[in-house]
């Protein structure tokens, strides 16, 4: 039995119409993420990592190929099915938090549950639980403008996790945080992964963030370049990442 939570096979993404100048953002990418993995996707800007994330998160459709998340093929789904799928199976963390600033932290976190028609009482219990896990119980009644960047990202993480998604997709989650808050968030994510069995796929170009992952895929020019596993401690892994990045840069220059 396969325990893959995400399966991507030969996915291509071509922008521009046939006959016109086309750009191949993804040139046949295949990857698999097992349940409980913490995978990083790295690559220079323009390498196609954001496109890959968009395709996986069902926000964009692949031109060719096949994507399966939690046993469901998402490439053939209709608009509304995709929306429902996103709201039930996926959790998102964005670089700029994407909290609704006119809702309280509580309401922001409750939103995915409200959308699924969960009764008010149950929502309350679940929100409080996830808030406790992420250490933001104190600020539930505050508005996003009243809290710090680190707290905002925790709130966003809480919203991404509250409905227990199959996989958490993070797009440069530390991009807008200072180093202290970034470290704290990454530690939390690692903890969620290890102690709560949350599967995570994180796109980043920051080697330090990536060093918290267990496995890292490198993309260049729309294709998978290489893949490394964390076998040593984190600082060692960090160096390993830097080496690959240097290699990538060299191949760029050459």
């Amino acid at each position: 039995m396969s325990t893959a939570v995400l399966e991507v096979k030969d996915v291509q993404k071509i922008y521009g119409k046939k006959g016109e100048s086309q750009s191949h953002a993804l040139k046949g990418v295949s990857l698999t993420i097992e349940k409980g993995e913490f995978v990083g996707i790295m690559g220079p800007s323009g390498s196609g990592k954001t496109t890959l994330l968009n395709v996986i998160s069902t926000l964009d459709r692949p031109s060719a190929g096949f994507i399966q998340i939690a046993g469901t093929n998402i490439t053939q789904m209709r608009q509304n099915q995709l929306a429902d799928f996103r709201s039930q199976k996926l959790g998102f963390i964005f670089q700029d938090f994407n909290l609704l600033e006119n809702l309280t932290v509580y309401e922001n976190i409750a939103l995915p549950l409200s959308l699924q028609g969960v009764p008010s009482k149950e929502i309350s219990a679940k929100v409080n639980k996830v808030a406790q896990t992420l250490g933001i119980s104190e600020i539930l009644q505050k508005y996003p403008v009243q809290i710090s960047g680190g707290q905002k990202q925790r709130a966003a993480a809480a919203r991404a996790l509250v409905h227990e998604p199959a996989i958490l997709l993070a797009d440069e989650p530390t991009g807008a945080l200072d180093s202290k808050n970034a470290k704290s968030l990454l530690e939390t994510m690692a903890d969620l992964n290890e102690n709560h069995q949350v599967s995570i796929m994180m796109v980043t170009h920051d080697a330090f963030s990536a060093s918290y992952c267990k496995r890292i895929l490198f993309i260049q020019d729309g294709s998978l370049y290489t893949e490394i596993h964390r076998t040593t401690d984190r600082p060692q892994f960090f160096k390993q990442i830097l080496d690959v990045l240097a290699e990538l840069g060299a191949s760029h220059d050459g």
């Binding site: 964009d60 608009q79 409750a110 919203r159």
Partner: protein, 625 residues
């Protein structure tokens, strides 16, 4: 270069400018049409019937102008606010402020001239179409009426050009005062959520009390007259604003505090959007409510006047027909009608008086009305004169200084003669009226005449015959008068016709005034909502990302804007319903067919609502893959 920039940015904002343009064109064309009707002296003189309407149209034009001033200022400041960032960018790039001010000045003026050209054209078309239609309805000849009337055109252009110059100047000054940084960071102001405390409740209660007090004054105008009207109008207006400032935000907060409701689907988001919007829109919502009240009020008022014509014409006069010395054609016409009652009375006439015979009167006592302008009820049935006439002779309408030899004509008989028999004040002139017995009557020298009064089943069925009868009566009257003296007939048909012309004019004006108000008001609301739309864009795209179905987002937009639109509408309509009671001082029944103007309003308003939702959707909802 700046000219190029300015043109290209205007093109980009075509949609917003189009909304402004439509509002302006409607206002200008209706203003022009009112002017063609109100200013054309030759035409007005040629039709004595519409002399009174001329005044109505001038009042209408004034009201329209007044509201238009506010509209133009508002719309322009809105457009300026939309472009602040862009203008600031030009300045940062090194464009001189004076040049940008100039550019803005030119733009505002250009906009004005374009709307004036289109507005005048539409106005001319409107006048030739609808103006003629009005005359057809009123049965007035259109001779001397020109849809293209130069003085009216001058007036329209003069008035609006001054207005546009003023706004252009104010816009330029406003820009000159702002710094580059002000302009660039214009969009980054956060939506603050103000804490609502006990103060808000106090304001809300105060608002409700003020409205209640205003309503009381306006519905008891017979007690407080002009002062009541002024104070009532002011108090109601202030109350309306207070309610929108305080009560509505409290109401939305209450909905939001209902956890069960708030936790369902997108409700938390919809309510949050609504709360922010209502906090932002309090003043404009108050204004919209007042404009709705004015617009619908104008329509309903005009209609109420028109619907009351028949009632007004029937108050004083029971008999539908009064004929002096009827001729063969009159009898033929009568034969064609279904006559319920018909009486003929002999009378003699000399230089001093009219003499009616007691015998004829007592043989067929006439009906008189029991309604008066002051006291009207549809249940007041006409009654037959029953007062006895024991004396030999009675007199009335004589010079009070004259020696009082004769008894006064009893009140009921007097009413019968003056209101039912005599068909024109000019006919009576300085003559007295006497009721005498047969013996006295026989002795009186003077021409003998007869008057025929008749009641038919429905006098509106026989308008053509009645019109011909009145024309023959008019000829008869004029033959006995000095030349050139104007004569007015007071027959039921003529009264009806006069009141009908006046009230149709009022209805016509009220209708167009209402449409113009509504168009301006709805576009104000639209502007305000759309100006915040760019800020909402991020929220909707984020919701879409976390997997909210498109229908849910669209539904949320519909709900949110519906509440924003519906509250001022309800408030405005309530004002109208209560306000119409004011007219009961002048009108018999101000509420006849009140559904019609309300239906028109709801239709126009709904169209603006749907357009706003569409435009808003276009801005905030992300494009689908």
């Amino acid at each position: 270069m700046l000219l190029k920039l300015s043109l290209s940015s205007m093109r980009k904002m075509m949609k917003d400018y189009l909304v402004l343009l439509v509002g302006l064109v409607i206002s200008i064309s209706i203003f022009y049409m009112f002017q063609t009707l109100g200013m054309n002296d030759d035409y007005v003189k040629a039709n004595s019937m519409i002399r009174s309407i001329g005044i109505v149209f001038n009042v209408g034009a004034f009201l329209l102008a007044f509201i238009t001033i506010f509209y133009i200022f508002y719309a322009n400041s809105f457009l300026l606010s939309l472009r602040r960032k862009e203008l600031g960018m030009y300045m940062v790039l090194g464009a001189k402020k004076a040049r940008i001010s100039q550019m803005l000045f030119g733009e505002t003026l250009l906009m004005g001239v374009v709307s004036l050209v289109i507005g005048s054209l539409v106005g001319i078309v409107l006048s030739s179409g609808i103006g003629q239609l009005l005359m057809g309805v009123l049965d007035i000849s259109a001779d001397g009426y020109y849809p293209f009337y130069l003085p009216a055109l001058w007036m329209t252009w003069g008035f609006f050009l001054v207005l546009f110059l003023m706004t252009a100047t104010i816009n330029a000054i406003r820009l000159a005062r702002a710094t580059e940084l002000d302009l660039i960071s214009a969009e980054q102001q956060n939506d603050n959520i103000k804490a609502k405390g006990i103060g808000t409740m106090v304001v809300a209660i105060l608002g409700i009390l003020l409205i209640a007090f205003g309503y009381y004054l306006l519905t008891h105008l017979e007690l407080y007259v002009a002062l009541g009207f002024i104070v009532g109008a002011i108090v109601t207006t202030i109350g309306t604003y207070l309610v929108f400032i305080s009560l509505l935000p409290v109401f939305v907060q209450m909905l939001k505090n209902n956890k069960k409701l708030n936790d369902r689907q997108l409700n938390a988001f919809t309510l949050a959007q609504l709360r922010f919007r209502i906090n932002n829109l309090t003043k404009i919502l108050g204004t919209v409510a007042m404009l709705i009240a004015l617009g619908v009020g104008a329509m309903a008022g005009g209609l109420a006047f028109q619907q009351n014509v028949e009632l007004v014409a029937s108050i004083g006069r029971i008999y539908d027909i009064t004929l002096h010395d009827p001729v063969a054609e009159d009898y033929q016409a009568l034969a064609r009608m279904q006559v319920l009652e018909q009486n003929t009375y002999r009378y003699k006439k000399d230089e001093q008086a009219y003499y009616f015979t007691k015998d004829d009167l007592l043989a067929h006592p006439p009906l008189i009305s029991t309604n008066t302008m002051e006291q009207y009820s549809p249940d007041n049935e006409p009654k037959r004169v029953t007062q006895p006439l024991p004396e030999k002779a009675y007199i009335m309408n004589n010079d009070p200084d004259e020696e009082q030899k004769l008894a006064r004509v009893p009140k009921e008989w007097g009413q019968a003669i003056l209101r039912e028999f005599i068909s024109s004040y000019e006919m009576l002139a300085d003559r007295a009226v006497q009721i005498v017995d047969q013996e006295t009557y026989a002795k009186i020298e003077g021409s003998e005449h007869k008057v025929l009064v008749a009641q038919v089943d429905d006098f509106l069925k026989y308008k053509d015959d009645l019109k011909a009868m009145d024309e023959r009566q008019m000829k008869l009257l004029k033959s006995g008068q000095q030349d050139d003296q104007e004569v007015y007939l007071n027959s039921k048909y003529s009264t009806y016709q006069q009141v009908y012309a006046f009230t149709s004019g009022t209805l016509f004006m009220g209708f167009f005034l209402g449409i113009a108000f509504l168009a301006m008001m709805a576009s104000c609301l639209m502007f305000k909502i759309l100006s915040g739309a760019t800020r909402d864009k991020g929220r909707y795209s984020m919701l879409r990302k976390i997997g909210v179905r498109k229908e849910l987002l669209v539904g949320s937009i519909y709900k949110e804007l519906f509440v924003v639109f519906v509250f001022p509408a309800l408030m405005g309509l309530l004002h109208v319903l209560v306000g119409m009671k004011m007219f009961s001082v002048i009108l018999l029944n101000p509420y006849v067919n009140i559904w019609a103007p309300i239906a028109i309003f709801v239709a126009v308003y709904a169209i603006y609502y749907l357009i706003t939702v569409r435009l808003y959707r276009g801005i905030v909802l992300p494009k689908e893959v």
